[in-house]
């Protein structure tokens, strides 16, 4: 996209991008994601991620998200649904090279670390990490995002890997199209893993950006659409 990086946006739906906001910039981000039909059930989940993102330096941004979860499950033809304030926390995204488009190399690494407290299970802490690398080749951006998530509580522990990758191509000023694959691979006995692949889209207009992907299940899930947007102030 031609505009200077003015937001910590991503060109992808499920993948973190490598852009960060300039120092002292503020943006409000919202993510909405669905996960339907996981592990052969008709269960549905919708997550809302919302929070401000603050440019601490030209290479480091902080987010203060809250996460809400809606889920429904059907057992013996009885549908149970719940809506919960799930967790809140803090996350840091550090771009390892200059954010200046004239100085940045084609290969851009970014690391992300987040710590979130579970609201319901009070002693559970979620720790998330991502190693992201993007490569710019003209209008084409390719990205690999290797994520890990650990839910740590006094009596339990759950770890999963979230490897993903994608490609995004600028097709018009402010508009990009591409495709991506995303997966969550459990490392514990529950074995609740899934993967989806699908098209993505990103659009930037002034201080507003939007991106999303429609994940079509290829392993233990039916659909996994996700959309996110941000507005900078």
């Amino acid at each position: 996209m031609p505009r200077t990086a003015a937001a910590g946006r991503t060109f992808y739906g499920w993948l973190y991008g490598t852009e960060v906001m300039p120092e002292r910039s503020v943006e409000l981000q919202t993510w909405v994601l669905d996960e339907s039909g996981k592990y052969g059930t008709s269960n549905k989940e919708t997550w809302l991620w919302w929070g401000p993102v603050i440019g601490v330096t030209d290479q480091l941004e902080l987010a203060l998200p809250i996460e809400l979860e809606w889920q429904s499950s059907e057992v013996d033809n009885v549908v149970k649904a719940s809506f919960t304030f799930k967790r809140f926390g803090i996350e840091a995204r550090y771009r390892l090279v200059s954010a200046d488009p004239a100085e940045a190399p084609s290969l851009v690494p970014l690391v992300r670390i987040a710590a979130k407290r579970d609201v319901i299970v009070r002693d559970r802490l979620r720790v998330e990490g991502d190693a992201v690398v993007s490569y710019d080749l003209g209008a084409v951006n390719a990205l690999v995002d290797l994520g890990v998530v650990a839910d740590i509580a006094t009596s339990s522990r759950h770890i999963e890997l979230r490897p993903s990758g994608g490609i995004s191509v600028q097709v018009a000023s402010g508009l990009r199209l591409g495709a991506e694959v995303y997966s969550e691979l459990s490392l514990d006995a529950r074995g609740e893993s899934w993967a989806a692949v699908g098209p993505n889209l990103a659009w930037t207009h002034g201080r507003f950006w939007l991106s999303g992907a429609f994940g079509i299940g290829v392993y233990h899930i039916k659909t996994a659409p996700r959309v996110m947007w941000g507005i900078a102030f």
């Binding site: 200077t4 440019g55 002034g206 201080r207």
Partner: protein
Amino acid sequence: MRSLRSIASSAIAAIAVVAASGGGAHPAAAGPGGRIIGTVKVTETDGKPVSGPDVIVYMLGFSEPPGDQVATVAQKGRRFVPDLVSITVNERVSFPNNDPFLHNVFSQSPDRQFDLGSYKRGESKEKQFPKAGVVDVYCNIHPEMAATIIVVPNRRHTRVDPTGHFVLEGVPPGEWTVFAYSRRSTRPTSGKVTVKAGADTNVELAIVRGAEPQHLNKYGEKYKEGTQVYKDKDK
């Protein structure tokens, strides 16, 4: 806003492209150069003369390596000071904030886009300019702040003195075009010169000055009402 500046920008950018491709522009030849001595007369659109305006004189057609200096465009009194500077390709410009409040520095010029974020008094950030062209710089917080950086492929550029005179030393022999640029030029002005080694060449240039061009913020929007407009000091 773009229409006026883009004319000059295109002129520089076109030469820069030629230089990069190896045609037209070429490295300056070693050996003694000549000197260009000239004057730039600046008038308003109604013909009234303007005294002491900021004018940069530069040349195109040959390239030279950059010097070691770092140019400075300070933020002071809600203005960029100076608001017109010339540098050689690959030189750096620092942007210190000397005001007791936050400023932002950004450019959406096609030849150099950047956003320095917002920073406070006493802090400074630097940018390198690897491509020839005209780079307009603004503050996203204060719409009255505007500056222009002329990025030239050689070191033969200078600021015209308050009386309108300038001297370009060490110009390689040959036939060249000399340009004069003011932030409020209604059109670029230039003159052809033939430079001989060890000799002086005279040139007279004239600029017609218009109104300060309006600009948009870094999101491509108009600035909010209430803040405002460029104050016409003796520029």
